[in-house]
Structures are given as structure tokens and as C-alpha cells.
């Protein structure tokens, strides 16, 4: 059984839900990312969503766009991200899901990426611009090397289609809470609970909810219906607020920032 399935099984037994925080690999540098992930795990993160930066992140709002840009400006690339995952898995067993866009994976080579990612310990992938109809090639590679390819379902997706997608999704299904791009929102859509319930009724895999989720209250509300909650932009904002320029104008994440981030993740976890 893969690590993601194990996590959901354990949580189900404990009657808990998964907290899945997001962080962009290499923002502001890979060393910071490693420390951030370890801190998030220490504070109770159940699965880590690790962003693979792309130059044209068209499903992302300003916060994650800027984060990806900082990482790319720092020179991070796919091979280094896989090294980071390898290094992390020497310290933690928490599943790591790589989230990104299709082109960097395509250019790495689908089969090669699947092999190297599996070797490094990548447990799953979420590819924002790879819908069901285009996913056969990557899906086959991922399956071959034991990587869960996690699909997204949106509020605009008709239920029949959502069912088809859920059946192809491995590990869990990512429900996009709002029609739109990533970004912290104060209010979540009114129909969200009903939509998640409908989706859970047709999905053979657990359903995790993301996009817009930014507060412990959101996590509390969503944990009542979903199997997991994904928090991205609200975490990246803490990183953005706590950047320091060190010598040579390289950016680093401050110690106070790490404390703030740890505290925030801990408060989110309490609500699952």
C-alpha cells in the first residue's frame, strides 16, 4: 500500500482528517523549503504538497505566482526538487505530493520523471493543466512506478464527469472549492458543503479540498465533510512576509517567519 493510502486509512481510524499544506520548492531557496517542510510535519501536516515552479502558472493567483517566480529566480530546477524530496524522506515518512504544470515534466521525459521521482520518494503528482482527456500517457508512467496521479475536480465539473475523474484518480481526489485561481479567500462559496457531499458519494478515493482555504475556521468547517484540507496561499503569504535579504542579495526565510508558520500550521491541524 502506498504512503498516501496509509495516511488516509490511519486518519479514518482516528476519525481525523488530513491537513495538506502547500509550499513552493525553492522559495526562497531549497534549504528553507526543507526546513519549512520539516516544521510543517512537526506541527501535524499529514501530507505535503510540494510546488514545482513553472514560468507560466495560469491556475495560480498572485501569491503563488510570485512564489514560483522567486524560486525560479533562485535557479531551482526539477532535478534539484527531486534531490530535496530524497533528502526529506531520509528524515520523514510523510507523503510528498508534487504539484505543478505539465511542461516541466514533459521536458524531463515522462518515463524518466516517473522513475526518478519514484526513486526520490515522490508519492503523488497533481498537474494543474493535465485534465483527464490528456492524462493517459502520464497516468501510465505514474502507475508503472507506483506514483499516485491525483486529479482535480472543479465546481463547474458535471457530476457524471466528476465520477469518471474520481475513478482515475489515485491517492485522493482534489476538489477545487471555487471556479477560479489559487489564492487566500475570506469567504468560501455557499454550495461548497453540498458539492463535497455529492462528490464523496461518487468517489472511490478520499476527497481533499483546496483553493481559497486560508483560516482555521475554514479547516474546521471543511473537515466535517471532506477527507482532507489543502492550504496553499495562506502559508506562502507567511513566507512572503518574512523574507530577509542576506549578503549577495539572496533571499532567506527569517526565524520569526518559521515560528509564525509553525504556529499557523499547528492551529490548522487542531481543527481537522
Amino acid at each position: 500500500m502506498n504512503r498516501i493510502d496509509k495516511v488516509f486509512e490511519r486518519l479514518a481510524a482516528e476519525q481525523k482528517k488530513a491537513l495538506i499544506p502547500f509550499v513552493t520548492a525553492g522559495d526562497p531557496c531549497l534549504d528553507s523549503t526543507e526546513m519549512i517542510v520539516l516544521e510543517m510535519v512537526k506541527q501535524g501536516a499529514d501530507i505535503i504538497e510540494l510546488g514545482m515552479p513553472f514560468s507560466d502558472p495560469l491556475a495560480d493567483g498572485p501569491t503563488i505566482q510570485a512564489s514560483a517566480l522567486r524560486a525560479l529566480d533562485g535557479g531551482v530546477n526539477t532535478a534539484q526538487i527531486l534531490e530535496l524530496v530524497k533528502s526529506l524522506h531520509q528524515k520523514i515518512q510523510t507523503p510528498i505530493v508534487a504539484m505543478g504544470y505539465y511542461n516541466p515534466i514533459l521536458q524531463y521525459g515522462l518515463e524518466q520523471f516517473a522513475k526518478d521521482a519514484a526513486d526520490a520518494g515522490v508519492d503523488g503528482t497533481i498537474i494543474a493543466d493535465l485534465p483527464l482527456e490528456e492524462a493517459d500517457k502520464w497516468g501510465a508512467c505514474a502507475e508503472k512506478y507506483g506514483i499516485c496521479n491525483i486529479f482535480l475536480v472543479a465546481p463547474t465539473t458535471p457530476l457524471e464527469r466528476a465520477k469518471k475523474i474520481a475513478c482515475k484518480s489515485r491517492g485522493f481526489l482534489y476538489y477545487v472549492s471555487v471556479a477560479g485561481i489559487t489564492g487566500a479567500r475570506t469567504n468560501l462559496p455557499a454550495d461548497i458543503v453540498a458539492n463535497i457531499k455529492a462528490l464523496k458519494a461518487v468517489s472511490p478515493v478520499p476527497v481533499a479540498v483546496g483553493f481559497g482555504v486560508s483560516q482555521p475556521e475554514h479547516v474546521e468547517m471543511l473537515s466535517k465533510v471532506a477527507d482532507g484540507v489543502i492550504v496553499g496561499s495562506a502559508i506562502v503569504k507567511i513566507i512572503e512576509r518574512n523574507l530577509e535579504k542576506s549578503q549577495g542579495h539572496t533571499l532567506s526565510f527569517s526565524i520569526q517567519g518559521m515560528a509564525e508558520l509553525g504556529d499557523f500550521v499547528g492551529r490548522l491541524k487542531e481543527k481537522t
Binding site: D56, L72, N103, D129, L132
Partner: protein, 412 residues
Amino acid sequence: MTIHHKKESEYVGNVPDRRGHFGDYGGRFVPETLMPALNELEKAYKAIKKDKTFIQEFSYILGDYVGRPTPLYEAKRLAEAVGGRIKVFLKREDLTHTGAHKINNTIGQALLARRMGKRRIIAETGAGQHGVATATACALFGLKCEVYMGVKDTVRQAMNVYRMELAGAKVLPVSSGTQTLKDATNEAIRDWVTNVKDTHYIIGSVVGPHPYPMMVRDFQSVIGQEIKKQIKKQAGQMPDVILACVGGGSNAMGAFFPFVRETDVRLIGVEAAGEGLDTDHHSATLTVGRPGVLHGKLTYLLQDRWGQIKGAHSLAPGLDYPGVGPEHSFLKDVQRAEYVCVDDEEALEGFMLLCEIEGIIPALESAHAVAYLRKLAPMLKDGSVVVINLSGRGDKDVATVSDILRSRKPGA
């Protein structure tokens, strides 16, 4: 990645397939949120394609409002200037209402949006020609219009910003990334993902996810259909060569498509070599790019080894795009069309040449096709017939060109 080469005859006229693939290219690489909208659009488009009322209304507007058919003009002095052994015809898309071929597509898509009950239109624009054409169509049909445009382009094409505003559109400057067409397209897609319920996105070229490359090609094919009729009458034969500039590639696709099965007709797309192919400042996607995925489609792209998209450059903002329509990628691989490039300096010379000897100010984009004629002419047989698709007029570029020329004057 490997692209399988198959004989052109297996494909030509049969693309895209059901899922919008042109051979290995095209497709639908978008966030799930947009998939239902793309399905809906595809269905609506297929319905209007056979709908007599739609076709009648579209033709009527193209005729009485856009000014079609546009003339096919024999440019005898231009032919003489390049050696005098060949015949050169200019397809005068520059004479359409709003001054570029872009209007053919925006009228079609705005009519379609109205049928689909979408009251809000968004668009991206580089040179501003597509933005102006979209704003115009929206004014004509009473639709709300917002246009994303890179900050850099709003400066160098300021006149077009004002034209859009006059037509009642809102221009939204994009300051992220390259501040040109690539990032304007990202922003337009982000808007569409957010407002997909009441909004139609009028993409301006044969790019984006299926059905856009097919639909825009079809709306632009009126160019090639007219060329076919006109050239028979005026030259008594099919053209030997059709030349068109390629950024995203909609004017070229429109001119090429009705000739794709006429394999004796050479189809040549001219890309922008910008400051030179040995620099990072060019837009020669098909010439030196590699296949990859951007803005919903698999196609040739300018990118680094890790798949990050590179900024493009051209003196002509309409060519300043690191991708290209997937059907061009396909036509290149099956060797049905040839793709070449000319640099900023050559394009400027082409621009000047046409102004001076024909009294026609071409868009800097179209000037690339004119410039390539000078390279091509010596290699053609006597009596060859060449058609250049003069995709737009150059009023928008007059300030750019005059700045360059002034900076070169001694003492400037």
C-alpha cells in the same frame, strides 16, 4: 520527446481529430474548471458551422461591415524591385475595417458568444490589433469587453489602446512576467477560469486549447478562399507560393488552409528572428523551438531545458510570442509548409520598401513576409506567382519606426 513523422497525405485535411489533436500537437491542456466550457464551446461551434442563419449573418457582416472581399492587388513595382521575373500579389487584409485580418475571427466569435448567451467578452492582445478587433465586434453586438495587454505593449502600441477605449472596451495592463503577449494570455486565462459562467474568451490566434485552433483557422480561412478565386481570375493559375508572417499564426493559417490539399502550392510561414537567432531575443518558435505545452496546447515553444518558457522578442509586437498554433507545428513536421525567419532589421527594410515603391504602409508583422520575398525571389523560376498575405496596416507602427530612424540620423 519524440514526434512521429507520418506522411502528409495521411493527415492533411483530416485534422484536428475528435480531441483536437493535429498529429501529436494541439489538445486541451487546461485546468479542469475550463473543460466543461470548452466542451460547450465546441458543441456550439459545431452547431453554428451548419446553421444557415449564422452563416448568412456572418457573411453579411464580413461584406458590408468588414469590407470583404479584400482586394488581391498585383504589386508590379514590388516585383520589379526584387528582380522582375516573377508576379507578386498582395492580399490586402490591411484594407479591412480596423486594419488587420483579426476582425474576421472576432466577428465570428462574438456572434457565437451572443448565441451562447455570454454577455461578457475578454481577450488578450499583443500589437493591439486583436484587441481593437475584439472591442469593435463587441461594440457592434453590444457586449461588455475587457482586454488584457502587456504593459510593454500598451506603451509601444499606445494608439491601439486608445482605439479600444473609444470602442467602449476596458484595457487591463499586465505587469507580470514578460509584460507582453505571453503574460497577457496568462491573465486572460486566469480571468476566464474565474468568470467562465458568463464570459467568453475570444482568443486572437490559432492557439489555445481545442476547439480554438480549429475555430480561429476556420473563421480566418475566408482569406485563402478569396485568394483562390481571385488568383484564378487575375493570374489564370494557382499561386506557386503563399507567404505569410507567423506569430501565433492565424493570418498564415487562414491563407494556407484552403491550399493545404493543393500540394503544388508552396506554403511559407515567416517567423521573427528579432535581434538574431544566436541571441535570446527572437520569436522563431518553429525554427529553433522544441515541442511542449503552453496555454492549453502542445506545440513548438521557446523554452529552456527544464521546460520553463522563455521570453520572445520581435520589433513587431504581434509576433512576440514564444509559442505557435499547433497546426503549424503539424504542417512543419509533415513537411507540408516551410518555416523561415527574417530579423528586425530585414523586416524594417521590407517595411520601408513597401512604403516607398507601393505607397502601402504594412504592419511590422506583415513586413516580415515582404522582407522574405527579397530572399526568396532569386530562387524562383521565371513567371512564378507569389501571394503575400498583407495581414495588417502599419499606422500603429509609425511611431516605432520613426523613433528608430531618427535615432540613426547622424548627431541624434
